[in-house]
């Protein structure tokens, strides 16, 4: 999962909104809290965030409304100029890019699905979806072909010539998704891309993105409010509060070892058994006997076995080789909801 060079790397990134953020951040005392900054008349949209996103990774960002998720992602794509820190994309400091290079970067590498869709009101579904291709200078025929392909993929056949205002919210959202699918960017920013979809299409779309990610090794930053969705998709989850990233780790670690009280509260209601995998519980030095479990199995998957079995240590295998054993008690604790 982790390649050596992160695709996106941000160090101590700040994004402050207000009348004069540049001079504010210079004169700001160290360790000022979100509320103190707000009392000074500024909003810390992103507050001292350091995070890396690796190639082929799906990073899910979660947090309450207004916690700065969209703002952070906008900083990644330089839709916002950051106030402090550095962001590099594939080794290039994006704040130092010229207008031309930035356009080139966006055209060749990036795609984004917007929270409120951002459809061009005067263009039909087809023209909206073909828009990025048009900007890239593709000829009319090719981009039409491609657009029709993705229209089919998102299930909007027959609506090619509709205008956005003639579509329902979910349909509009699918146009936004299709627009970014059409270009299959290497780096994908998805801001609550499925929020308006019904469960059926939502699942189809999730599968589609998972498929693309695995098949083409895409890097995806995904914002959602829905934990189930996050768990299905995420390699890692970043939890934000008041502009800062409270914790960024794999789902298992987040539920097993919340870094802060806030994260613990935030993840309280999750059924841990569905999150934690055998692979995480396995201790390398421990030795178990009998039939091994697959490392990707969740505690929930193993429930029946855990209850009926009597082994103390259960071996865990990954891709056919045993990597250790997990204590059955630990797994049972998680299953039964006792805090280990």
């Amino acid at each position: 999962m982790t390649a050596d060079n992160p695709v996106i790397s941000c160090k101590n990134v700040w994004k402050i909104f207000g009348p004069d953020p540049e001079s504010f951040i210079k004169s700001m005392p160290e360790g000022m809290s979100f509320d103190e900054i707000r009392a000074a008349g500024y909003i810390a949209g992103v507050k001292d965030v350091s995070i890396d996103v690796h190639k082929g990774e799906m990073l899910v960002i979660m947090g309450l409304s207004g916690s700065g998720k969209s703002t952070l992602v906008r900083c990644f794509s330089r839709l916002h100029d950051i106030t402090g820190g550095t962001i590099t994309v594939e080794g290039q400091d994006i704040m130092s890019l010229s207008e031309k290079d930035l356009i080139e970067l966006r055209r060749s590498k990036m795609g984004m699905v917007f929270q409120s869709f951002g459809l061009l009101p005067h263009r039909t579904v087809l023209e909206n979806i073909a828009f990025p291709l048009e900007m890239r200078g593709q000829d009319k025929h090719t981009r039409r072909e491609r657009a029709l392909e993705v229209i089919k993929l998102v299930g909007l056949e027959g609506r090619e010539d509709y205008f956005p205002r003639e579509l329902s919210g979910g349909q509009q959202q699918r146009v936004g998704i299709a627009r970014s699918l059409a270009i299959e960017p290497d780096i994908w920013f998805l801001d609550e891309p499925f929020s308006a979809l019904d469960p059926l299409i939502r699942k189809e779309m999730q599968d589609e993105f998972l498929r693309l990610q695995q098949l083409l090794n895409k890097t995806i930053v995904f914002i959602t409010h829905d934990f189930d969705e996050a768990l299905r998709l995420a390699d890692r989850i970043a939890i934000m509060k008041d502009g800062a990233v409270e914790q960024c780790d794999t789902p298992d670690q987040i539920v097993l070892h919340p870094a802060t009280e806030y994260v613990r509260k935030f993840t309280e209601d999750i059924d841990k058994a569905r999150v934690v995998h055998a692979g995480v519980l396995a201790q390398a030095q421990a030795v178990g006997e009998g039939e091994p479990q697959d490392s990707r199995a969740t505690v929930h998957d193993m429930a029946r076995m855990l209850v009926n079995d009597s082994r103390e240590f259960i071996p865990v295998q990954k891709n056919g080789t045993v990597i250790g054993a997990m204590p059955r008690k630990d797994a049972l604790d998680i299953l039964l909801g006792d805090n280990a």
Partner: protein, 658 residues
Amino acid sequence: MTAATTTLPSSPRSFSNAQIALAFVAVAVVLTILQYIGLLPAWMHRLPEAIIPNFASVLDTVFNFVKDDLGLLALTRFLTEGLEWLLDFSANIFFGKRRFPNIGPIPWTAMAAVASVIGYYLGGWRLALLGGGTMVWTALIGQWEIAMQTMSVLAIAAPLAFVIGLSLGIAAWKYAWVDKAIKPILSVLQTLPFFTYLLPAVIFFKVGPTAGAVATTIYAIPPMILMTTLGLKKVSPEVVEAGKMSGCTKAQMLRHVYIPSARTEILVGVNQVIMLSLAMVVLTAFIGMPGLGAKLLAMMGSFKLGRSFEIGITIVLLAVMLDRMSKAWVIKQPEHFERGTPLWKKHSMLLLGLGLFIGFTLLSLVVPFLAEVGRGQDFSQGKELDNLIKAFLNIEWVKATTGFLRAFLNVQVLIPFRNFMLSIPTPAFILLVAAFAFALAGRREAIYALVFFSLVALSGWWDRAIITLYSVISAVSLAALIGLPIGILASRSKKWSERVLLVCDTAQTFPSFVYLIPAIMLFGITDVAVIFSILVFAMVPLTRYTIEGLRNVPEEMTEAADMSGAKRFQKLWSVQLPIALPTMAVGFNQAIMFAFFMVIIAAFIGTQDLGQELQRTLAGTDLGKNFVLGICVSLMALTFDLTIMKWAADKKRMLGLQ
């Protein structure tokens, strides 16, 4: 009136403002009393001639320098040629002037058919009827050629204003400094009397259609700039971001994202450009441009009321047609066709229009009447209408009423008021205006008022300026006396509000010129006719904003008043009116601006104000004087504009309405 308004309630922090204002008023009153008892030295009453600087000749020198030495004239004469070519082209198409491309004139039947199809496309059969009907009326009443003379200039001036306005609007949106530079120029331009555009246009761009087109274009540009900037600012940020993420360059952003997304505002701008252009093109009659305006001017001059009336109707019909069609265009959203719709069906309207056009053109080759309504073939009832109007005016009670109004208003109200205003010493008058601005708006506006009116005094046209102001104030006051009650009554029911608003909307599209027709009909060539035409013109915004203000009072507030047992009148007086007042003030302001505009136009009936002098300058090349006069009008109008708008904004903020 100035003194009375100072006692109006003003914003809380201006408590001391009110005191200063009161002090100003006191000084003014003392000065005036001194004048009345003959103790005021003459130089305190009016500025002595000797110290009045000759702005006009200074300006003339500057103009001459720019015109000749800097070669501006050479440049504009060069531009003139291009413009002339365009105008000749459209003149050939519309009314068959013998110029390139020598294919016109288009038969009136073909034009009518096309107008109907466009109307149908934009707004269904009602607009089709309006479009076709207007054309048919114009042709049958025998005014086709003059109407097309007007339209041929409009067809060039309006698109020109659109293009220039759009570009400047984009520049102002993009560069803050352009915006800063343009804003004050725009507010001056919008208050500058139309005649001030005309003379420079004539001098720099040759008499006739070219000068008319230039003046019209310049007059119509400002709203286009404002609407463009407004629209571009309103484009949703996510749409912009979507454009950026699609890798748009700056030019692509503008072309594919911003401008299409600002479509509605830009089209509203187009509507305003068209309407202003029409209003102005008619007025270019004053520099001898042929067309509806010139004919109307001639007919009114020789008191041929029947024909004037008919031309008035033509102008009004054209105005309403253009307005409704361009508004329908604003609302019209693109619609999709089902897949597999054949090409001819997608473009059925275009094909229908083309077909009818060609059909009627061919048909008119065989039937000349369908090409042109010849002399003596028209259905004009000018003579008969003349007699009818004269008979009407001679009916005993009508005669008695107009006669009474004429005599009463003139002798009892207008003339005494005018004389009173003239008797106030110049410094006292300036102080009164400053006090008005102080009490209503604040220190900044008061300083503006002081400076602006002092400049007017220095211009040497003080008496004429006061007469202008007198016409404006009396007309607006009378308009308020009639317009406010109408507005208040109408606002009581939704149905009546809508009806009256519709009337106001329609009336507002009429070019100002036509308001002179009923005035002259009823009151002949008198001061009362001038006041009457201004009054009607200014009543429209007053009534309209009163209704809008009252109808938009939040429901909770009236309900709260109901619950506390307020009577209808109490509710109106203590709840609805105070909340509606800022909006009504905007209407009041517009009424004053309209009045300043109209008083200058009405000058040709014969007044002794700035307007008359302005019209005189049109005959010569007295550019300096023309400008001084124009600026005087503009300065007075600006004073009111700044003060009232500031007051309305303050008040709105205070009431939490913004």
